[in-house]
């Protein structure tokens, strides 16, 4: 399971969950949202998004539905399940703790 080298493991999953917490969206839309919310700082090869989406769906964190996109085409829309929402909450807390710990650690070292 190759992750994009630019990302820490698990980051992409968390970003997808975050992006979808704003509302249901198709794959390409999720990509745009991630780019937007990360200010384009984190980039992935676009195709890598899909195995991640499938994995999350397989784990029951996402649900899917075929619908019509803005440009009036058939597209598969992803949305969070309640398990997905729980997971997002947990992961966010975990991430904040790590981020805090890391920045503290790195900050201390500089002194």
């Amino acid at each position: 399971m190759t992750e994009n080298a630019d990302l820490l493991p698990g980051t992409l999953d968390l970003l997808i969950l975050k992006a979808l917490s704003l509302g249901n969206e198709h794959g390409y839309g999720v990509l745009l949202r991630i780019q937007r919310i990360t200010g384009g700082a984190l980039t992935v090869e676009q195709g890598a998004l899909y195995p991640a989406l499938y994995r999350l769906e397989h784990r029951g964190l996402l649900e899917t539905e075929w619908g019509t996109s803005d440009n009036n085409r058939r597209a598969k829309f992803y949305g969070l399940t309640s398990a997905g929402r729980r997971q997002l909450k947990q992961e966010t807390q975990r991430w904040s703790r790590i981020a805090l710990a890391m920045s503290t650690a790195l900050g201390t070292q500089e002194v």
Binding site: M1, G47, Y54, R55, H58, G60, L61, R73
Partner: protein, 917 residues
């Protein structure tokens, strides 16, 4: 985390595979096209936008594969691919397919057969309601809980009244107490011997059985010392004797000349297991069920006779039941020393108790077929190993491309599955045929033999062993193939050779096969050898054209109570039975076709004899602890003539020996040897010790030993006395041997053709006493050998199958080895090697494999054969002749398996062989 969701998406993936694949394509296309649209909006040209969108997306194939993985579909894809490749491989090498399938079919077939029998005997619940809660309570000696026996009436009452964990306890008497003669007076049919069982009224509830029509006993019908004359008859008897008369309930029939009311008919499918302590020849068939008929004497007695059956309350285990019964037994022993001193018990599941005798044999047979399966798996593994050699390049390539070791092993196991499945299917067909044969040859009293079927549990078992054999036979080659596979084979540019290590490994497999086959063959060889010994046993008498039947009067005709003696009942023996026996004897002597007739108080060759203590006049009395006993055999005149037992010394009984003349005795050789080693027994006097007015018997003759049973382990001393001279009083339950005699009839031709003439003649003397158990002496002997014969036959078949499989393995490894060494052989021939050298080369290698295999097998046998000790007669489990014979046999078989490869080696043409490279 979300197993349900995972499973669902996996299943969807499996069954809606096309939809999933199209969905994936559509999603990716939508993504790329949307991206291109955005790029066009940012000012790119349409072609350029599409190209850039594709680049940004990355490899669609790679991501599609990852998406499949994410859905758990990859495993399935791989399994399918491996299966397909396995089937293709089979088509490419049909020899491999056929040999592997046959090997596995034999192994799996044998396992399926034995498991089917185990399933119906030990696993499938017996036909009683909730039968898992039923238990049997035995009385045992406190030092040895394995030695079970029936319980006394007072033990039954004690346990029944005190138990809390058992819902209810019941008991039955599986001994002689239920045997009745159905009189001929009422319906004019001939007198008939009925095999009945005596049930406590509660036993019906315990077992959960109801009569088909009518009712069971009530407690008031089975009071101690006051038994109502009532009987339940079997469905079979109802149909056979009473034509299914719907009015049968309430009618009276004569049982032992007592008018008895039929109160019900048992259902057709009702069966009670055979009491394990009952005579070996008794059938499990029950003709009728009677009340326990307890007398006040029995209640006071320590003597056993009852088999106690209990139903545990729901939720309680056998172990808890055992603990409670132990406590109660200890309490009984403490409070009532007289009747319960040293009481110890054992609680068994009913099914285990009922089929106790079959458990060990079946488990041993299952172990034997497990050996066979291992040998067949080793065969497949060996064949796979040589195929693997050809595939090492492929495996190395796959490893180089990143396939993990686990993946390679999985591939091999899955590829092998089609072979295992074919073997499984063929095995099931084989064992179905085997089962038919088994049902034909199995003894009639083999438990539920007609109900053995291949049910769901058997098929599940087959599925399991198919999987297991697939794993066992392919795991070794797979590990071998993937071990350090990376560099060497690729360097060897696809040349299919093995390292020496792999060849050694395959030889090791064959050694293992040989060793297992030796163990199996030695076990079966010992059984065959022992069986031959049994069949050839010198019986000491002639069973040919000899017919036996039992003629027994009722208790009322035989005895009247005469008080008590040594804690047992004492009985006056009526002169009527003895007179009746003489009358029957006289009447039969006149029947044409009968060469001679006599009678005894035991059935010849059936193993039943009463042992009685005795002292010899003038000899020092034996110490109290080591009472000397001998078989007590009361006979009529002419017994030795009819049986053709030679008189060795002294004289036979004759007309001089009447009831009033001097008491005379004849003894057998063993008695003479053991108790009169340095003196002439003739004229010595022997006194027995079991009735109040014992009189000395003068020894007048010595006869040859005769076996009491073909399966006897030691010859016992025997005392023969004229039946007319037996004491007028008898003690305890032994009165029974005075009520009947077993007649022996020597016929001029086929004895069974005399049966109706004999029955008619006996009916003329006494129409109310049945001619029971009429059978030839040959049948009596065969009946005792049937189980042993069956086990011997099965074990021999499995041993031969194992040998054939091991021979195939041997052939395979030698053929491969010769093929591998074609070049070497070519060089040897080119350098002037003679036939002898080539043969020596081939057979030296074979000799090492066979030699080590056989040696290991012999060592294994020495540790294993102790398990079949109880089946061996006349030889020990280390019988050297068998070990030598089997070793030589396997050496020959192994060498024979090398003949074809050796011929091939001899025919190697050096010019071709050397070009071959």
């Amino acid at each position: 985390m979300m197993p349900a969701a995972r499973t669902w998406s996996f299943i969807q993936g499996l069954f809606r595979r096309n939809a999933v694949e199209t969905g994936m394509s559509e999603e990716i296309r939508f993504h790329i096209e949307s991206r291109a649209q955005d790029l066009v909006a940012q000012g790119a040209s349409p072609e350029d936008a599409l190209r850039r969108a594709r680049i940004e997306f990355g490899s669609t194939e790679k991501y599609r594969e990852e998406m499949r993985v994410a859905r758990g579909l990859r495993l399935f894809d791989e399994l399918r691919a491996d299966l397909v490749s396995g089937i293709r491989g089979l088509r490419r090498s049909p020899t491999f397919a056929v040999v592997s399938t046959i090997s596995l079919a034999l192994g799996i077939g044998a396992n399926t057969l034995i498991f089917s029998i185990i399933n119906s005997t030990l696993l499938k619940p017996m036909g009683y309601r909730d039968s898992s809660r039923l238990a049997v309570i035995w009385t045992t000696p406190s030092q040895n809980r394995q030695q079970i026996s029936t319980s006394s009436v007072s033990t039954y009452f004690g346990l029944r009244d005190q138990t809390r964990l058992f819902e209810s306890l019941g008991a039955f008497n599986g001994g002689g107490c239920g045997i009745r003669t159905l009189g001929s007076d009422r319906d004019g049919g001939p007198a008939e011997r009925l095999f009945g069982q005596c049930f406590s009224p509660s036993l019906f509830d315990v077992l959960g059985v109801r009569p088909e029509i009518g009712r069971a006993f009530t407690d008031s019908e089975d009071q101690v010392g006051n038994v109502a004359p009532v009987v339940l008859i079997s469905h079979g008897l109802w149909m056979r004797r009473f034509g299914g008369d719907p009015q049968i309930v309430g009618k009276q029939i004569d049982l032992n000349q007592i008018p008895t009311t039929v109160i019900g008919v048992m259902p057709a499918n009702f069966e009670l297991f055979k009491d394990p302590n009952a005579e070996a020849t008794r059938t499990p068939i029950i003709d009728c069920i009677l009340p326990l008929e307890l007398t006040p004497t029995q209640v006071q007695s320590k003597v056993g006779g009852l088999t106690i059956v209990g139903r545990l309350k729901p939720g309680f285990s056998l172990r808890q039941g055992q603990t409670e019964i132990d406590t109660i037994a200890a309490r009984l022993a403490a409070s009532d020393k007289e009747r319960h001193d040293g009481l110890s018990t054992r609680v068994d599941a009913l099914q285990a108790a009922a089929y106790r005798d079959y458990r060990t044999p079946l488990i041993l047979l299952e172990a034997a077929v497990a050996f066979v399966l291992l040998i067949s798996c080793a065969n497949v593994a060996g064949l796979l190993l040589s195929r693997t050699a050809a595939r090492r390049g492929e495996v190395a390539l796959r490893c180089a491309l990143g396939a993990g070791r686990v993946r390679i092993v999985r591939q091999f196991v899955t590829e092998n599955l089609p072979v295992a499945i074919m073997g499984g299917v063929a095995g099931v067909i084989l064992s179905a045929a085997g089962l038919r044969v088994f049902q034909l040859i199995a003894p009639r009293d083999f438990p539920r033999v007609d109900q053995i079927t291949m049910d769901g549990r058997v098929l599940a078992f087959v599925a399991c062993i198919v999987l297991v054999s697939s794993v066992i036979s392919s795991a070794i080659p797979a590990l071998q193939a993937s071990k350090g596979a990376l560099v060497d084979p690729l360097k060897e540019s696809g040349r299919a050779t093995w390292g020496r290590g792999r060849m050694r490994f395959r030889r090791g497999l064959v050694m293992g096969q040989m060793a297992l086959a030796v163990v199996l063959l030695i076990c079966s060889g010992l059984m065959v050898h022992s069986f031959i010994r049994v069949v050839q046993t010198d019986l000491g008498a002639d069973p040919k054209n000899l017919l036996t039947f039992e003629f027994r009067l009722t208790m009322a005709e035989t005895v009247t109570p005469a008080g008590r003696y040594r804690g047992l009942g004492l009985w006056n023996i009526s002169p009527l039975p003895a007179r009746r026996f003489e009358q029957v004897l006289e009447r039969l002597k006149g029947v044409p076709g009968i060469r001679g007739v006599a009678a005894a108080n035991f059935t010849p060759f059936r193993g039943d004899a009463v042992k009685l203590p005795f002292v010899v006049e003038g000899h020092p009395a034996p110490a109290e602890a080591q009472q000397q006993t001998a078989n007590y055999l009361a006979i009529t005149r002419g017994f030795f003539d009819v049986m053709k037992i030679p008189l060795l010394r002294g004289r036979d009984f004759d007309e001089r020996d009447t009831a009033d003349s001097t008491h005379v005795m004849m003894i057998n050789e063993t008695m003479a040897r053991q108790f009169f080693p340095n003196e002439d027994p003739i004229g010595r006097h022997v006194t027995m010790d079991f009735v109040p007015d014992e009189r000395p018997w003068e020894i007048v003759g010595v006869v040859r030993d005769t076996v009491t049973s073909p399966l006897q382990r030691e010859q016992l001393p025997a005392m023969y006395v004229p039946h007319l001279q037996q004491p007028a009083k008898f003690t305890g339950p032994l009165w029974y041997i005075r009520s009947g005699m077993y007649f022996v009839v020597r016929t001029t031709s086929d004895p069974m053709r005399m049966s109706s003439a004999i029955k008619e003649a006996v009916a003329e003397v006494d129409r109310n006493t049945a001619v029971a158990d009429l059978r030839t002496a040959g049948e009596t002997i065969d009946n005792q050998l049937r189980n042993l014969q069956l086990y011997t036959l099965l074990l021999t078949i499995f041993g031969m199958v194992a040998t054939i499989l091991a021979a195939i393995g041997m052939y395979g490894v030698m053929a491969y080895s010769v093929g591998e060494r074609t070049k070497e052989i070519g060089i040897r021939v080119a350098l002037g090697g003679r036939t002898y050298d080539i043969l020596f080369m081939v057979f030296r290698q074979a000799a090492v494999v066979i030699g080590i295999g056989v040696a290991a097998g012999l060592l294994g046998s020495l540790t294993v054969t102790g398990l079949i000790r109880t089946w061996l007669f006349g030889i020990t489990e280390t019988d050297p002749a068998t070990y030598v014979f089997i070793s030589v046999f396997l050496l020959v078989v192994g060498a024979a398996a090398c003949l074809v490869p050796a011929r091939r080696a001899l025919s190697v043409d050096p010019t071709i062989a050397l070009k071959y490279e």
